[in-house]
């Protein structure tokens, strides 16, 4: 146990000074052979083997990394088609070719990403069968019929993806509707591919075991476990967020590398769309997360307390930090968009932006305040314990729900402000509409805070069933009423300042990358939380983990693995992007020698290239 994970921290650095290179290679090959030898040792008694291990690395660690990579890749592969299909649909409806181009650009990434996801899925399956044979035998017995459904869905998904991608150029014009239908089918099968294995994972946390009935009946009963649908909904929304922010990061990197104005404009616009979709998905995500936690708590008090009040509770403080950075990053990008893409608008929006920033920071301060504080002995004595008599009230769900709703409201208003920037409403009823919207916004904010404070003085069930739901409904009401109202206002609005694409500063590109990294870290963190809430059970209350790894790692150790998973996934995504854009590079090479569309664009933005001669890039 002691040696487990040391490879992560120590590596080969100590030995590199004295071992000749051939010996290093020999040592490396021997290391690779360890698992083979370990497996071979257990081969003769295959039927009785419950666990196998990979010496030095640990079976749990390797499964942790591979499973997380598979899940993140799957999130990307399922999130991007939603993104691409929506873009294609918008392009078809608005007749704007750039949306179709964007959708196609991302579907191109899908083909290589899809294969990589399947590859990691295969590796994960082999590892699970090899390292956890007893558990896998049980799950196979329970879920075998669903394995068949999964295979069929995979076949359908693969065929649809090929037709969707390779038929893109062919199915234009009057065949476009059929292509859109294929995109719809692609997403439908993708959702099926997500929810079937979700049932296996959620069964491990909240099992429903039925002894009687046919194999199909037992599998169906096991699939319909209490946390299945909350996880399905949560993952579906999270995948849209992941897809949106990864698209944003891709656009951010391409923007930083752009050498021509056309490229700069295109990737600036793509970054905006990616950030918009990421934010759009992020707004309902806390609601879905709340529902999932509620179901877990209701299913089993022990599991709920382990997550929210027990040793995993600190993960939720880290979660608050990551979500906070994400909210700040997404809003920062919106605000920079206003000040840079709409010339002369800075003075007009300075005060509202400052007000929104202050509200976001105050909310984040409350969200990040733990129930019991990290304090030295002396500090704890002065406070009368680790629970602060005044700020301790921020540590419970009533406060967290209130501030998360307020942050969603502020972020939504950031988007509305961006939408209205550079335009003047001309409709006769515009003044009245704006006054009503302002009054509704203030009332909604007050109502959310009042319900949050009131929540401290009512029984928990009233707060959970009514107050929290009312807070969510108030925020949703604002979103649902403001969006069409603003759309109507903008329909007749006069544009005073045209939006100029390609003018964003370098830090905008970096903020898009930061948002993507935050989402990946967040998914790694919460994936670990959900999985480790089972503590020493493979299947909660049904099958105990009797391996040498039946303990929960220290939070610092887990955090190191989350970081490793984030890093590896970023490398994989970078590789996929690189492979997928090789064709573009070949085309660009073929166009070499042809004059650039504007002068002075040989250097990318990251290297200090400027949009036009004389224009300064910050």
């Amino acid at each position: 146990m002691k040696s487990q994970g040391q490879w992560l921290c120590k590596g080969f650095s100590d030995s590199s000074r004295w071992i000749p290179s051939f010996m290093k290679w020999s040592a490396f090959l021997a290391l690779l052979l360890f698992p083979v030898m370990a497996w071979a040792g257990g081969a003769t008694q295959a039927m009785s083997v419950e666990y196998r291990d990979i010496p030095g690395i640990g079976s749990r660690n390797i499964v942790w990394v591979v499973a997380q990579q598979h899940l993140l890749l799957a999130g990307f592969v399922l999130g991007v088609p939603i993104f691409a299909w929506v873009c294609e649909l918008v392009g078809w409806k608005t007749k704007e070719a750039r949306y179709d181009k964007l959708a196609k650009e991302f579907t191109k990434l899908l083909t290589s990403a899809y294969a990589t996801t399947a590859l990691f899925g295969g590796i994960l399956l082999f590892l699970l069968i090899g390292l956890y044979p007893k558990l896998m035998a049980y799950l196979t017995d329970m879920f075998f019929p669903s394995f068949l459904v999964y295979c069929l869905l995979f076949l359908a998904e693969t065929a649809t993806l090929y037709m969707y991608w390779y038929g893109w150029d062919y199915m234009q014009g009057n065949k476009k509707a059929f292509h859109l239908f294929l995109g719809f089918l692609l997403n439908l099968f993708a959702i099926g591919i997500m929810i079937v294995p979700n049932s296996w994972a959620t069964f491990q946390a909240s099992p429903v075991v039925v002894a009687d009935g046919t194999a199909w009946e037992r599998a169906w009963a096991a699939m319909q476990n209490p946390t299945w649908w909350p996880v399905n909904i949560h993952r579906l929304i999270a995948n849209v967020v992941l897809g949106g922010f990864i698209v944003g990061a891709y656009a951010g990197v391409r923007y930083l590398l752009a050498v021509s104005r056309e490229e700069r404009e295109h990737y600036d616009w793509m970054g905006y769309v990616g950030n918009f979709i990421g934010v759009f998905g992020m707004l309902p995500l806390p609601f879905a997360g709340y529902w999932l936690m509620r179901e877990i708590y209701q299913y089993n008090q022990q599991m709920g307390i382990t997550l929210m009040g027990g040793f995993l509770a600190w993960l939720f403080i880290l979660q608050a930090m990551l979500i906070g950075v994400l909210f700040l990053g997404a809003n920062y990008y919106f605000w920079m968009g206003i000040t840079h893409r709409i010339p002369g608008s800075e003075g007009q929006y300075r005060k509202p932006v400052m007000a929104m920033l202050i509200v976001l920071l105050l909310c984040l301060g409350v969200w990040m305040t733990p129930h019991s504080l990290v304090a030295s002995l002396e500090e704890a004595r002065k406070m009368g314990g680790t629970h602060h008599p005044l700020l301790g009230v921020f540590g419970v769900m009533s406060a967290k729900m209130t501030v998360s709703n307020l942050m969603i409201l502020v972020t939504f208003m950031s988007f509305i402000m961006y939408w209205r920037a550079g335009k003047v409403e001309t409709a006769g009823w515009a003044k009245a509409a704006k006054a009503i919207m302002g009054a509704l916004l203030v009332l909604a904010g007050i109502a959310v805070v009042v319900l949050g404070v009131w929540g401290y003085f009512v029984p928990a069930i009233i707060r959970i069933n009514y107050f929290s739901v009312a807070q969510v409904l108030i925020v949703l009401f604002i979103m649902i009423t403001f969006t069409p109202l603003t759309a109507l206002l903008m329909k007749s609005a006069k544009t005073t300042t045209e939006m100029v694409w390609g003018k964003m500063p370098i830090r905008a590109g970096y903020s898009l990358v930061l948002n993507a990294v935050m989402v990946i870290l967040l998914m790694s963190l919460m994936g670990y939380a959900r999985s480790s809430s089972r503590v020493h059970w493979h299947i909660y209350g049904v099958m105990r983990d009797t391996s040498e790894y039946a303990y929960s790692p220290a939070l610092g150790y887990a955090a190191a693995f989350m970081s490793l998973n984030t890093f590896v996934f970023c490398l994989l995504v970078a590789f996929i992007f690189w492979v997928a854009t090789l064709g573009d590079k070949a085309k660009a090479k073929a166009n070499e020698g042809k004059p650039l569309d504007i002068a002075g664009h040989a250097a990318p933005a990251m290297a200090g290239g400027s949009p036009a001669a004389g224009e300064k890039l910050e």
């Binding site: 932006v353 990040m368 500090e379 406070m383």
Partner: protein, 241 residues
């Protein structure tokens, strides 16, 4: 001396002074971890606002770049730059040393307040009806066995409370028993501090193992009396009729 940097510095100092010195005038002092957290948030807000537009970036970062690059500086300006370039690494070094140097002080705590209860206590419900007689009996038992530490007003301020660190729980705080189900309290009272699980060790709880002295019936009635006396309700999944 006006400008965004000056304003930012004033805000940061203001936040720090408020949290460190002014707030403790009205309530308990804040731990350093929380003060750093809030100051870091304020700093990030200043950075975000200061770098939002081209003009704000120039106003915010321009003087810093010019000062650090030393362009066009002479005399006092050069000396100040040199002082910053020497003192800043020294400050970082000193900070690192103080963090890493061996100390006889105990490390900061991140105590887990609500560990998960053992499986056998999950899902238990109070078998005794919530009637005035039972509540009164519970309050009487509470007065005899619990109030010396948890206080006659259920606020954790019993006569014996000052002798304990951490102090006894304050039941009137909505962050304590109001967040928990009755079965959780049953477990904590019955098994006491010694019955706590290993998760989140080391445990610090002087709570006696009351199963040695009290019957289950008494414990359930004490729970009823505690909730009633503290004006709180247990966490349930069904609404009371």
């Amino acid at each position: 001396m006006k400008g965004p940097i000056f304003n930012g510095a004033i805000i940061l100092v203001g936040v720090f002074v408020f949290l460190k010195f002014l707030l403790p005038l009205f309530t308990a002092p804040l731990p350093a971890s929380l003060i750093y957290l809030y100051v870091a948030l304020a700093l990030s807000g200043i950075m975000i606002f200061g770098t939002m537009s081209a003009s704000s970036l120039e106003a915010f970062m321009g003087p810093i770049y010019r000062f650090l690059s030393g362009k066009g500086q002479s005399g006092v300006g050069q000396m100040a730059r040199l002082a910053v370039l020497v003192l800043f690494p020294l400050l970082v070094g000193w900070q690192t040393y103080t963090k890493l140097a061996p100390s006889d002080l105990p490390p900061a705590e991140n105590r887990t307040i609500h560990p998960a209860p053992p499986g056998e206590f999950v899902g238990l419900s109070n078998p005794y009806p919530k009637v005035p007689e039972n509540i009164m009996m519970g309050k009487g038992l509470y007065a005899a066995y619990c109030s010396p530490c948890h206080g006659a007003n259920f606020d954790g301020k019993g006569p014996a409370a000052p002798g304990f660190n951490p102090p006894p729980a304050n039941f009137s705080d909505p962050g304590t028993i109001a967040q928990l189900q009755e079965s959780y309290l049953f477990w904590r009272i019955k098994k006491g501090g010694v019955g706590l699980p290993v998760e989140g060790m080391p445990w610090k709880s002087a709570m006696p193992r009351w199963e040695e002295e009290l019957s289950d019936e008494f414990i359930w009635k004490i729970i009823m009396g505690e909730y009633d006396g503290a004006h709180q309700s247990p966490r349930t999944w069904e609404e009371e009729e």
